[in-house]
């Protein structure tokens, strides 16, 4: 008892209190780093080659159709005063464009990432809440109510500026035009289509929009976006969903259709094609550009040489550095204990 008293203040002798916890003490010395670098370098070079080759095999066809140049087929449509203008873009393939082919439209100099633009939407409305049909969110200004003070549905700048050029692709077979069937399903994120965006559960859908007006820029109301497929209307329309997912950068592409059906299941055969464009979307007043892109994809997405090159560069750097280190190591050794 007395002894305990005498050492009452004695600190505990544990590994924790004495800072003696077992620990791994790695050191970045050449002995570890050189082999590490060699392994990482070789692995990266391998990955880089694989990525590069994969990327090289991807075919891309890109055509600008803004119509700035006089000789451009869409030049006549670029004048904002022309309405319902249609132009044709002809191109030919000299070999099979392997399928499935993805068809994108692209916009340049278009700032979907502008903050005020981005917040001008009402996610509650888009999830089908009828309260927000009658009184859209404050954030939708200036597209909250129209001039007659009627609520706009879908409200906000993003919805209002929905891309409205449409495309039809024909293959010229023996001088005759053969329509290439487009698949418009699955171009938007599955979760957007099935969870995040919902139509109000009112049939017909049209009734839910009573007392509201369509966005000022739109030619058709939301419930009539796709006359061919009643399930592809309202807020779950695939084109609408694709547009609503804002692009990160001012030059962007958006998926328009996939070519997966019929004769074109395996891709676009070599031959002449004509793309019929209903030219509606104005971009010239802000120096924008419009383009269409055909591309096939690999597991890693579209044609992207950056990754392969980056892996090759870093991989070779690793190997080079390990060689340099080896030389230094051999020359200077380690200045041991004094």
């Amino acid at each position: 008892m007395k002894e305990q008293q005498e050492t009452a203040n004695r600190p505990d002798n544990t590994a924790f209190t004495q800072q003696r916890l077992p620990a791994w003490q790695p050191m970045l010395s050449a002995g570890i780093v050189i082999p590490g670098f060699v392994i990482i370098g070789l692995a990266f070079i391998g990955i880089g080659i694989a990525l590069f080759v994969t990327s090289q095999n991807i075919q891309v066809l890109e055509r600008d159709y803004t119509g700035v140049e006089n000789n451009s087929p869409c030049f006549k449509c670029s004048d904002p005063s022309t309405k319902n203008c249609v132009c044709k873009l002809d191109f030919s393939l000299d070999k099979l464009f392997e399928g499935p082919v993805f068809f994108y439209y692209g916009l340049s100099n278009y700032f979907q990432n502008y903050r005020k633009y981005g917040v001008s939407r009402d996610d509650r409305q888009l999830s089908g809440r009828l309260d927000n049909f009658q009184s859209p969110d404050e954030g939708c200004v200036p597209y909250q109510y129209d001039a007659n003070n009627k609520p706009i549905v879908p409200c906000g700048s993003v919805a209002n500026s929905l891309f409205n050029d449409t495309f039809k692709l024909y293959q010229i077979v023996n001088g005759a035009r053969k329509l290439v069937p487009f698949d418009g399903k699955g171009i938007a994120w599955w979760t957007d289509h099935n969870v995040k965006y919902r139509n109000p559960s009112i049939t017909p859908l049209k009734n839910a929009f009573n007392g509201t007006v369509k966005p000022t820029f739109w030619s058709k109301p939301a419930y009539e976006l796709d006359p061919s497929d009643p399930a592809n209307n309202g807020f779950v329309n695939q084109d609408f969903l694709v547009w609503m997912r804002r692009a990160a950068l001012p030059d962007f592409r958006k998926l328009y259709r996939r070519i997966t059906e019929g004769d074109y299941k395996n891709g676009l055969p070599a031959g002449n094609y004509s793309l019929e464009i209903a030219y509606n979307y104005p971009v010239l007043d802000f120096d924008g550009r419009k383009k269409v892109v055909f591309s096939n994809v690999s597991w890693m997405g579209g044609k992207n040489q950056f990754l392969g090159i980056a892996y090759l560069v870093i991989g070779s750097l690793c190997v080079v550095m390990s060689i340099v280190m080896l030389i230094v190591y051999a020359k200077f050794k380690f200045p041991d204990e004094e």
């Binding site: 004695r10 278009y110 200004v141 200036p142 001012p250 890693m300 997405g301 190591y329």
Partner: protein, 1045 residues
């Protein structure tokens, strides 16, 4: 009422009056115009807050911190104007920080309240309406008569009215007030020594018309002192509660700030500059861009009417503020919290350290200020007291000289030199008897008996003591020398009472503390005369000190020399090793002592402070300015000439200089020739200041502290006379010694023995410094990484203040995703094994002069942060390229996916960067490092996996899953992380091999052949110390000194 509220809130100090009239037992005069004075009650309040004022006062104090205020402003800006992020993003962390701090401070205050309540609720006995009533301490009012029993502390400042001793005296000890351990005799007021009558007392300011006896300090019993040797006393309370002397002495200890904190604030200001620059640049670019209409308002992005109509200046300001809000995270809010937590938690390791635990006295190291942990790693000058710090402060009588004969103590008997113990030593000659008489009478020693029953009657305690068995006596003396002497004389037999004698200090020799004893015979008439003279001086109301001095010098004339005594103070264990280690660590050790020059030098030599190879410079007994300056110049020249003559020798043979300076010369040197003196001092590796007054110690510390290089100073001492220097130095260390707790209480750290200083500085200080320095640098780095991509993104979104990351990520980055690894690092990191640090003090030089927080290192971390941020952002940007799809199903990513990609890369890189810095991987490091990354992934999956009903937007829904479903994204994450860390690894390897620091060298040896390495080092140190000790023992100090010249 208003005043009461203000007092409660602590705005008004309690009222104070010039003089106070105290009515004993509160019997106020019945007649005349009497205005009762209001006095504070006897509550002691050391707490800062009450329940009512805690919230407002604590908030007020917290927002006085510049960082908190900054975040409050940001928060308010977010509330007021339309900003890119919701107020929650800065409000939540701010709330978190404020709450954590408030809880900590509230807890500390609760402890203070508890302590206060204990003191205020202590039972006391008060005379009320003629009888003794038990009440609580806080109920004592001014004028109450209080009874205090033996060994109790006084509950208020009391004037002693009566004691149970017949002469009305009592003994008290003031250990807890000033650290003096001796018993002091206090006297009761003459009129009241027995009875309690209604009398008027005037304390300190006697009224000219009353005939009251003036009261002096010997009548006053201070609160906090303890009654000894007296059964009970009665006293009247004159100063109570916060007006008592003890409470008035509660000085707010001036806050010491560490060098790290100062650099941290500098860095903060630089970052504030970066923030402002980025915000201004963004605002200007925004307007440059928007000069053209087509950019300003394309058809898809129309403005509202309100936006169009607001004034341009307002728009400009609000844009600037919006950018400020967007980039505000570059100032790391959690830095302060983390630093505080690190310091608080980290300081436990000092108390827990078994190596700092002193078995004999059962004392462990004690941390009073955790704010200064890292300063322990930065010390450049150590100022140490000698007695009690380097030595044990255990006086042992060694020898004495009586009438020219030397006597030594052998087996409890006093034996003349040359004679053996058993040689007959019959009658003691007259002189020797007189000598012993003098020694045993003239002292301040009081005896405390174990049995309280033996206290009957007062009188001379010593003559009484002879009747008891010697073992139950405890001696209390104001000077340890006196105590040792009395204890020694006790062993040689008893002596009888005689007349007044005086005893004073004289020249020493041989490193023993020496007292010369002399006496003077007074005739009875002379004695009466002298006595009156002394009494008059003692009770003088003005110039008491000077008059006493005069009286003493009048008495101490024509003395007859009796002899001299020698008392030895043992050196503490391992003092030499410690001083040697400190010297190797590049720390200059200054010994400051009140001792005479020769004693001081001999102790210095024996404790290894000076050694034989050292060239000793002297600055002693300078009388005038000119002489002093001349001497200083000569010393400077001497030093350089010696160095010059040795400069051709091998490099490792560096001449070390030691300087001896005495108090008088020092004050001369400091007055006029500070620069010259500093010049000499800086080149001396050891400095010894002797004959120092306590205040001079503080002055020397301040001089060094404020010299142009602003070195970090550490003062270590054990006595009340070291307090000023302990408080003055950057780090003050108290030795838990024999001279009370005063030094310990005023210190920042307290240790039981001097030898512990080595581990405290070399190991703990080194660790703390490395930990906190990396913590600070890393915090800035990770916030640069965090915010720069956000800044870069503005170039791609028309400076529209679009955030790159989601608000939740913005908020949680510093709180959750990256906070724990750095906290754990900063608690457990060990760059080198502690044994290596302790055995190789040179490593301490690696971190000297705040090297890890130098501007260069700061620049490296900041640039690294920017580089990494560029790689994150542009890596992701190039990956997106012309916005090709990254998914196998051809679908596209959006802006949030892009931001999340950057964020993911960032969290991983920033965490791994810290992993690269970590040398000591305990299971906790593994857990938090990998756990943080895992937590980020799990959290993101969870956060993105649910539609959150209360959130305004569902931007992040399934974004993270989509990102991870892309093979390219995985490959991109890997390559970007590797790219960021690759140059860092290369740099580290090259530095380690081409320019290794000694720390890095010892890492190899420390982990490689650890055993052998250790032996080698300890072996070498022991060797040196052995030599030093040998020298100290075998040579007389004078000889050693001569050899040095």
């Amino acid at each position: 009422m208003l005043r009461w509220i203000r007092q409660q809130l602590g705005f008004d100090p309690p009222h104070q009056s010039e003089t106070r009239t105290v009515y004993v037992a509160n019997r106020f005069p019945q007649h005349g115009h009497y205005v009762p004075q209001r006095f504070a009650d006897n509550r002691i309040i050391s707490s800062k807050y009450t329940i009512w004022n805690f919230v407002p006062k604590n908030l007020f104090e917290q927002f006085r911190r510049i960082a908190n205020f900054y975040f409050l402003i940001i928060f308010l800006v977010q509330l007021m104007i339309d900003t890119p992020t919701s107020p929650v993003t800065s409000g939540l962390p701010l709330f978190f920080v404020i709450t954590v701090t408030a809880i900590k401070q509230g807890y500390e205050d609760w402890l203070r309240h508890k302590a206060d309540n204990e003191v205020n609720g202590a039972p006391v006995f008060v005379v009320r309406s003629g009888s003794l009533v038990q009440t609580r301490s806080k109920n004592i009012r001014v004028g109450d008569i209080v009874r205090v029993a033996k060994d109790e502390t006084f509950p208020a400042d009391l004037v002693l009215l009566s004691s149970d001793r017949s002469d009305g005296t009592c003994h008290i000890t003031t250990t807890s007030l000033d650290g003096e351990t001796n018993l002091k005799t206090h006297y009761s007021v003459a009129e009241t020594s027995v009875c309690q009558s209604v009398s008027r007392l005037e304390a300190l300011h006697p009224h000219p018309h009353t005939q009251a006896q003036p009261l002096g300090p010997e009548n006053l019993l201070l609160r906090g002192a303890r009654l000894k040797n007296t059964k009970e006393i009665f006293g009247v309370a004159v100063y109570t509660g916060m007006e008592s002397k003890m409470a008035l002495n509660y000085k707010c200890k001036s806050q010491k700030r560490s060098a790290v904190e100062k650099s941290m604030n500098t860095f903060l200001i630089i970052y504030l500059g970066i923030l402002l620059f980025e915000a201004v640049l963004s605002t200007i670019l925004k307007y440059a861009w928007q000069a053209e209409d087509k950019w300003d308002e394309p058809f898809y992005n129309h403005k509202t009417e309100q936006e169009r109509n607001s004034s341009p200046i307002l728009k400009f300001i609000s844009d600037f503020l919006a950018f400020l809000v967007l980039y505000n995270f570059i100032i790391p809010i959690s830095l302060y919290v983390t630093v505080e937590m690190q310091k608080f938690l980290g300081s436990f390791f000092i108390g827990w350290d078994l190596d700092l635990y002193h078995e004999e006295s059962d004392q462990k190291a004690q941390v009073n200020t955790s704010d200064l942990n890292e300063e322990l790693g930065q010390v450049e000058y150590v100022f140490t007291d000698k007695t009690g710090t380097l030595t044990e402060n255990e006086m042992q009588f060694r020898e004495c000289s009586i009438n020219g004969t030397k006597y030594q103590e052998i087996n409890g008997k006093l034996v003349p030199e040359g004679l053996t113990d058993d040689s007959p030593d019959g009658s003691t000659p007259h002189l020797e008897l007189l000598f012993l008489k003098a020694v045993s009478l003239c002292h301040t020693v009081q005896i405390s008996y174990d049995q309280p029953d033996c206290l009957a009657g007062g009188g001379d305690p010593f003559s009484h003591a002879n009747g008891f068995s010697t073992n139950d006596m405890e001696y209390y003396a104001s000077s340890p020398d006196e105590k040792a002497l009395v204890e020694a004389t006790k062993r040689y037999g008893s002596v009888r009472a005689s007349k007044t004698m005086s005893l004073y200090l004289q020249d020493p020799c041989k490193g023993l503390r020496t007292l010369v004893v002399a006496c003077r015979h007074f005739s009875p008439e002379e004695y009466i005369d002298v006595d009156r003279c002394l009494n008059a001086a003692r009770t003088a109301l003005q110039q008491r000190e000077e008059r006493l001095q005069e009286a003493f010098s009048y008495i101490e004339r024509d003395l007859q020399l009796l002899g001299a005594t020698g008392v030895e103070d043992k050196l503490q264990d391992k003092v030499q090793e410690t001083i040697e280690a400190l010297r190797l660590a590049g720390i200059k050790v200054w010994v400051l002592t009140g001792d005479k020059h020769e004693t001081a030098v001999s102790v210095s030599l024996s404790c290894g402070h000076f050694h034989r190879t050292m060239n000793i410079l002297e600055l002693l007994q300078q009388r005038s300015d000119n002489e002093c300056a001349e001497q200083l110049r000569r010393l400077g020249l001497l030093r350089t000439s010696i160095e010059h003559s040795f400069s051709y020798e091998t490099e490792d043979h560096v001449i070390q200089h030691g300087l001896v300076v005495d108090g008088a010369s020092l004050s001369l040197a400091l007055r006029e020739h500070e620069k010259l003196f500093m010049e000499v001092c800086k080149n001396c590796s050891a400095v010894l200041c002797c004959r120092m007054a306590p205040l001079q110690k503080a002055k020397v510390v301040r001089l060094l502290k404020t010299s142009p290089e602003k070195p970090i100073t550490l003062a270590i001492g054990d006595g009340a006379n070291d307090v000023s220097m302990i408080q003055e130095a950057h780090v003050g260390i108290g030795i838990m010694g024999k001279e009370g707790r005063q030094a310990v209480r005023n210190s920042d750290y307290a240790i039981a023995r001097f030898k512990f200083l080595a581990k405290l500085l070399l190991v703990h200080g080194h660790f703390y410094y490395i930990r906190i320095a990396t913590l600070v640098q890393y915090f800035f780095y990770k916030n640069v990484c965090f915010i720069t991509p956000q800044f870069l993104y503005q170039f791609f979104c028309l400076f529209s203040q679009q955030t790159l990351y989601d608000s939740v990520y913005l908020t949680l980055y510093n709180i959750c995703f990256t906070s724990l690894p750095i906290l754990v690092y900063s608690l457990f990191e060990q760059l080198v094994h502690p044994h290596v640090l302790q055995n190789k003090p040179v490593l301490y030089r690696d971190i000297s002069r705040n090297s890890l927080l130098s501007f260069r290192t700061f620049l490296y971390w900041t640039l690294l942060g920017f580089c990494h941020a560029f790689v994150f952002f542009f890596g992701s940007y190039v990956l997106m390229g012309e916005d090709t799809t990254l998914m196998g199903n051809g679908q596209m990513f959006g802006n949030w996916t892009f931001g999340t990609l950057v964020f993911t890369v960032m969290v991983i890189t920033v965490t791994l960067k810290l992993a690269l810095e970590t040398h000591f991987w305990t299971w906790m490091n593994h857990f938090v490092t990998w756990g943080s990354i895992a937590f980020y992934f799990i959290f993101s999956l969870f956060y993105g996996g649910i539609i959150w009903p209360f959130l305004h937007t569902q931007d992040m829904y399934f974004v993270f899953v989509q990102l991870l479903s892309s093979g390219s994204a995985w490959f991109a994450i890997i390559i970007i992380v590797v790219t960021c860390l690759f140059p860092d690894v290369v740099k580290k390897v090259f530095y380690r091999h081409l320019q290794p620091t000694s720390t890095q060298k010892s890492q190899v040896t420390g982990t490689g052949g650890q055993g052998g390495f250790k032996e080698k080092w300890t072996g070498r140190i022991c060797d040196q110390i052995g030599r030093g000790a040998e020298m100290g023992r075998n040579r007389s100090p004078q000889k050693a000194l001569k050899e040095n010249f």
